[in-house]
């Protein structure tokens, strides 16, 4: 499980996270929402040791990220980045096999066991049929599935998705999140997904945590987190919250009435 404790982190002279507390248990899907620049990506980076915490800690299955080797960290936590690099000329299967790195010695090559794990990951994300296709020939949705399979090939306990759907069309967004949700459930991973689309977050997450100005301002099930006054405070945008007609989950729409108070750096919740 992932647990973030009073985390302060950021870049020299610019603290982005100012005391974040957040937990994601095994099998739990937590959506991390908040305006641009609120620190979602910084949180993902801190959880993978790319950004060093100034104060507080990120614990991966109980151990501080900083105490783990790069290799051990990559066995516990995998990331699906906003836009992943898929080096040209390597087949989709080879891309996924790169996810086996933390299970291999520095000079070791992939064996049959790694191939098996990669194939299972690609079947789980529905991209095994693309195995021999070179990266540059994959569409956006296909790339996303390959990158997700690469993350799964790491066999992590914690999966971090950094706006995994921002480049995808509606159907691919839904499929990607559905997949992440199903994988979290069936494999017992803790899933933390930074998302912009509050409606998608509502449909797929067990909990939604709002990050605003470096702090978690609310953290709870969609019904509790997606309240107009919370969203207005976080984004500076008036919204109305409706019920999804089939799932009953809350759905967020921007309210264009004159009482809307735009705020600098605010993000349209309509996504």
């Amino acid at each position: 499980m992932l647990s973030v404790r009073n985390l302060w982190a950021g870049y020299p002279g610019r603290p982005v996270l100012r005391g974040v507390d957040l937990e994601a248990g095994a099998g739990e899907v937590v959506a991390l929402a908040g305006p641009n620049g609120s620190g979602k990506t910084t949180l993902v980076r801190a959880a993978t040791g790319v950004v060093r915490p100034e104060r507080g800690a990120v614990l991966l299955d109980g151990d501080d990220v900083r105490s783990l080797s790069t290799r051990e960290r990559a066995r516990r936590v995998a990331v699906v980045p906003q836009s992943a690099a898929l080096p040209a000329g390597f087949s989709a299967l080879e891309q996924v096999l790169m996810g086996r790195t933390p299970h291999l010695g520095l000079l070791e090559s992939e064996g049959p066991r790694d191939l098996e794990v990669a194939r299972e990951a690609m079947e789980a994300t529905g991209c095994w049929s693309l195995a021999s296709r070179p990266a540059q020939e994959l569409s956006g949705g296909e790339r996303q599935r390959v990158v997700l399979a690469r993350a799964l090939a790491q066999q992590p306990r914690i999966l971090l998705l950094d706006e995994p759907t921002s480049h995808l069309d509606l159907a691919h967004q839904v499929r990607a999140l559905q997949l992440a949700l199903r994988l979290g459930r069936s494999l017992g991973m803790a899933v933390l997904a930074a998302v912009h689309d509050l409606t998608l977050a509502s449909l797929f997450a067990d909990r939604i945590a709002f990050l605003s100005e470096g702090r978690i301002v609310i953290d709870g099930p969609p019904e509790e987190a997606l309240r107009p006054e919370v969203i207005e405070r976080v984004y500076g945008q008036a919204v109305v919250v409706l019920r999804h007609p089939t799932s009953g989950r809350p759905v967020v729409l921007p309210d264009l009435a004159p009482r809307a108070v735009p705020r600098g750096g605010g993000e349209s919740v309509a996504g």
Partner: protein, 360 residues
């Protein structure tokens, strides 16, 4: 997780280019190197019959061949041509595999092994020795290679330290620091050449690079660096592949990026420094050969590093053969030959990459 992989599927996956053969192309490359080497052995200013060249070599290798040739032929074949061919092969291989590694670490197809100041550092040190009082006092054991080697190491280390921030060495900063260090060294060389006109030609001919000073001593100087460097770098092919993700992603899949970068650059730079020390600054080999290899056999560094080495050896042997036979009795510096072959090829690559970029 999802059921067990059957043997048939495994073979099917193997067909997806996973275990790409390296031995076939490698053997092919070695064959080409052998052909180039034989040509280079037979061709030269002295007109020695091919059979005699072969018999001289066999005789020297201790086989029972009767020595019925002039003693000067023996010296030409064994002390001049053969060490020159061997040195050309070693220098070419070293520059090419180092270039492949540099391109991999910098994730930049325009990277080359002189990027961090190896060449200009070696050049400055060599210039200092050539204009100084020491250069001609050692006879055949010139202090120039040792000085050039040290100069190269100092320049690369300086570049690395300048680019270093508290936690990381960003590759873009490395490139810029390399440009800065290189500029200062190059400016110093120019100044020294202007103020020591009488030695300017010697400096120039060293800077242009060449294998005309080849000897078994120089082969012995380079061989350990070339061999150990190559043997150390080849197994890092997979790590170099993973590094082709962004550095952040490479770290997130479990690669200790900074340690890997430091190790690879250190080994490649050491080997390059040794090559420059014995042959001067031969350009374009480290840039063009890895690219040609990539065009022929793809971007997988598990193949790219060893195959670049073989291709680089062949390329420089042929370039040096041209350098000494195109305009007899003069020798063209081999760096000029590699530039004439390399620069057009480089332009072709640039235009090709440009077209790909605009397609995307």
């Amino acid at each position: 997780m999802l059921g067990v992989l059957r043997r048939g599927r495994l073979n099917q996956a193997r067909a997806y280019g996973l275990r790409r053969p390296v031995f076939g192309p490698f053997a092919l490359g070695l064959g080409a190197v052998a052909v180039a080497a034989v040509l280079a052995m037979l061709w030269g200013a002295a007109d020695i019959p091919a059979t005699t060249v072969g018999r001289i070599v066999l005789h020297r290798l201790g086989l029972p061949v009767e020595a019925d040739w002039p003693r000067s032929w023996d010296a030409i074949v064994w002390e001049i041509r053969l060490p020159r061919v061997v040195l050309a092969g070693l220098v070419g291989a070293t520059l090419a595999y180092s270039g492949a590694v540099y391109q991999g670490v910098f994730r930049n197809p325009l990277a080359e092994p002189y990027l961090m100041g190896v060449a200009s550092g070696a050049g400055l040190a060599a210039t200092l020795v050539i204009i100084g009082p020491l250069a001609y006092s050692f006879g055949p054991l010139s202090p120039v290679p040792a000085a050039a080697f040290l100069g190269a190491i100092v320049a690369v280390t300086l570049t690395y330290l300048l680019a270093r921030t508290s936690r990381a060495v960003p590759v873009t900063t490395l490139i810029l620091a390399g440009v800065a260090v290189g500029s200062i060294a190059t400016a110093s060389i120019s100044y020294l050449m202007l103020t020591h006109e009488e030695r300017a030609l010697s400096v120039m001919s060293w800077l242009l690079g060449g294998l005309n000073a080849a000897s078994w001593e120089r082969v012995a100087l380079l061989l350990p660096y070339a061999a150990i460097g190559g043997l150390a770098l080849v197994p890092f092919g997979r790590a170099l592949n993973v590094l082709q993700l962004s550095e952040e992603e490479a770290r997130q899949v479990g690669v200790n990026v900074e340690a890997l970068k430091l190790g690879l650059l250190a080994v490649a730079s050491l080997a390059t420094a040794a090559a420059v020390a014995v042959s001067g600054i031969i350009g374009f080999v480290g840039l063009v050969v890895p690219h040609a290899t990539r065009l022929l056999w793809g971007p997988d560094y598990r193949r790219l590093v060893p195959l670049s080495a073989v291709l680089g050896a062949g390329f420089l042997i042929v370039a040096d053969l041209l350098a000494r036979t195109l305009a007899p009795p003069h020798e063209i510096p081999v760096g000029i030959i590699t530039a004439f072959v390399g620069a057009p090829f480089f332009l072709y690559l640039l235009r090709r990459t440009g077209r790909h970029a605009s397609d995307a």
